[in-house]
Amino acid sequence: MAKITYVEHDGTEHTVEVKTGMSVMEGAIKNNVPGIDADCGGACACATCHVYVDPAFEGKTGEKSAMEESMLDFAENVEPNSRLSCQIKVSDDLDGLVVRMPESQH
């Protein structure tokens, strides 16, 4: 279990409990948090689950795969802390994680 705070582009915050083993993307979908589209359902094929990871957690969210890295390279408004949320696995270590959403996923 980890408490994760999703911050919409307009600043609206949603703090929810997400089960270990789920992805950060699934945590949003299962809790009806808006702002993550996840068109491909977590296949790392669409880049519509883009989030910005709070710098305090950057070391804990795991390494980006080459696939994720190159998908992100072509997404809009990418920052150094950009991630595809379907590729971040939730663990107890991520308790307190804050992720922010871009203005649009398309």
Binding site: M22, E26, I29, K30, N31, N32, P34, D39, C40, G41, G42, A43, C44, A45, C46, A47, M67, S70, M71, D73, F74
Partner: protein, 419 residues
């Protein structure tokens, strides 16, 4: 209660009573987009499967291999529907559309009035009218129930025969291997993926699967299924051989569930004919997803697509039309497939292409096949190559000419090629 739509059928109306037939990827997404865009009227979602709208792609991939649980398949959590004033009627099918009365008849005998009707009935697996096709263990893969049946038949030492070398069949073969089962793929054409991919890609996938122990029988005529005590035991070929199996997956394409629309007098050509708002010729009736024959403005033709991105695009179109938002800009059709450690991403359609150009080396399992019409990219099939897919999609949508020489040179990055 109906909204104000009766006077002016199909006009934007936030209070319209929307009935959606088919609670699949398109229908479920349309309900979600309607609420997201501020629709306040009632939404009724009728689905003949017993499940809340769910995703099918994992049924042949992550879910089949046991890497994703059933919970993860749902599009939205079950309580979303009640919380958002969407009435879900599951295990119920619509049997008739009465257009004049603007009413749908259900299998329960009940009738439902609508201001707006959305047909999202999808497609069903094509069956083979062969001897033995009704044996236990001869199956299709379209629904979660199908997938349960297939999964139960797989495991170490089991033999799966896949009839039809399309994406679903190849994905199932790869998942069967991951579960320790033997897999043989029987294809009528001389190559797999014959209807949906180019020769280069077919050859690559055949080699890759062979390397993972899948056996191929190409140009194979399947004559029927053999069985014992009602259970399939083998597939009989035209050359007289019988290939033993514990389960036979028939993956020979899908046909649109457009019979309701046909019976209601709506124009159907391999699917329900719709425009770029997803509207049929009846202003109060829309159709979305696998069941539609839709315009592809980039290619100046009509086509029936079977993909999640298509279902989502049309779900947005219908939601926009109902609430009175401008129609979203047309998207580039795209698709993905996962097999072993391969990620295939396809953008565009290879219509009217005059040249096929391979970028990268298939032997490295990282390459892309571009389909060009002059210097315009019509489609790209990218294996483990997101830059080619992502930039290819942008080039296709923007109708931006490229230099073939530079595109063929993988030492020049896709960003530079497109610059």
């Amino acid at each position: 209660m109906r909204g104000s739509g009766l006077a002016n059928p199909g006009a934007p109306d936030l209070n319209a009573r929307v009935v959606i037939i088919g609670a699949g990827h398109a229908g479920g997404s349309a309900a979600a987009f309607l609420r997201q865009y501020g629709h306040t009227g009632p939404i009724i979602l009728i689905g003949d499967e017993p499940l809340v709208p769910y995703q099918r792609p994992p049924l042949s991939k992550a879910w089949l291999k046991g890497e994703a649980d059933a919970d993860s398949l749902a599009l939205k959590p079950a309580d979303w529907y009640a919380d958002n004033n969407c009435r879900l009627m599951l295990g119920v099918s619509a049997t008739k559309i009465e257009r004049a009365a603007r009413r749908v008849v259900l299998s329960t005998g009940e009738t439902l009035d609508y201001d707006i009707l959305v047909l999202a009935t999808g497609a069903r697996a094509r069956t083979l009218p062969l001897p033995g096709a009704d044996l236990k263990g001869v199956m299709a893969l379209r629904t979660a129930a199908d997938a349960e049946q297939l999964k139960a038949a797989l495991g170490p030492g089991k033999h799966l025969a896949v009839v039809g070398g399309g994406y679903v069949g190849l994905e199932a073969a790869a998942s069967a291997r991951a579960l320790g089962a033997e897999a043989v793929v029987l294809e009528r054409e001389p190559r797999v993926l014959a209807r949906v991919a180019c020769q280069q890609l077919s050859d690559f996938f055949t080699r890759y699967h062979t390397g993972h122990g899948v056996v191929f029988e190409l140009s194979a005529g399947v004559e029927g299924f053999e069985g014992r005590d009602g259970q399939v035991t083998g597939v009989r070929l035209a050359d007289g051989r019988v290939l033993p199996c514990d389960a036979a997956l028939v993956g020979v394409g899908a046909i649109p569930n457009d019979e309701l629309a046909q019976a209601a007098g709506l124009d159907c050509v391999n699917g329900v004919v719709v425009d770029l708002e997803a509207r049929t010729a009846d202003p109060a009736i829309f159709a979305i997803g696998d069941v539609t024959h839709r315009p592809l403005p980039l290619y100046d033709r009509m086509f029936r697509l079977e993909s999640v991105p298509n279902a989502l695009e049309q779900a947005k179109q219908v939601a926009c039309a109902i609430v009175g938002r401008p129609a979203p800009p047309p998207e580039v059709p795209w698709f993905w497939s996962d097999q072993y450690d391969l990620k295939l991403q396809i953008a565009g359609m290879p219509f009217d292409a005059d040249t096929i150009l391979v970028r990268g080396d298939p032997a490295t399992a990282k390459f892309a096949v571009f389909h060009l019409k002059g210097d315009l990219v019509q489609a790209v099939e990218a294996v483990n190559s997101p830059p080619e897919f992502m930039m290819g999609k942008i080039l296709i949508g923007g109708r931006k000419p490229v230099s073939r020489e530079r595109l063929a040179d993988s030492s020049i990055s896709m960003k530079e090629v497109a610059a």
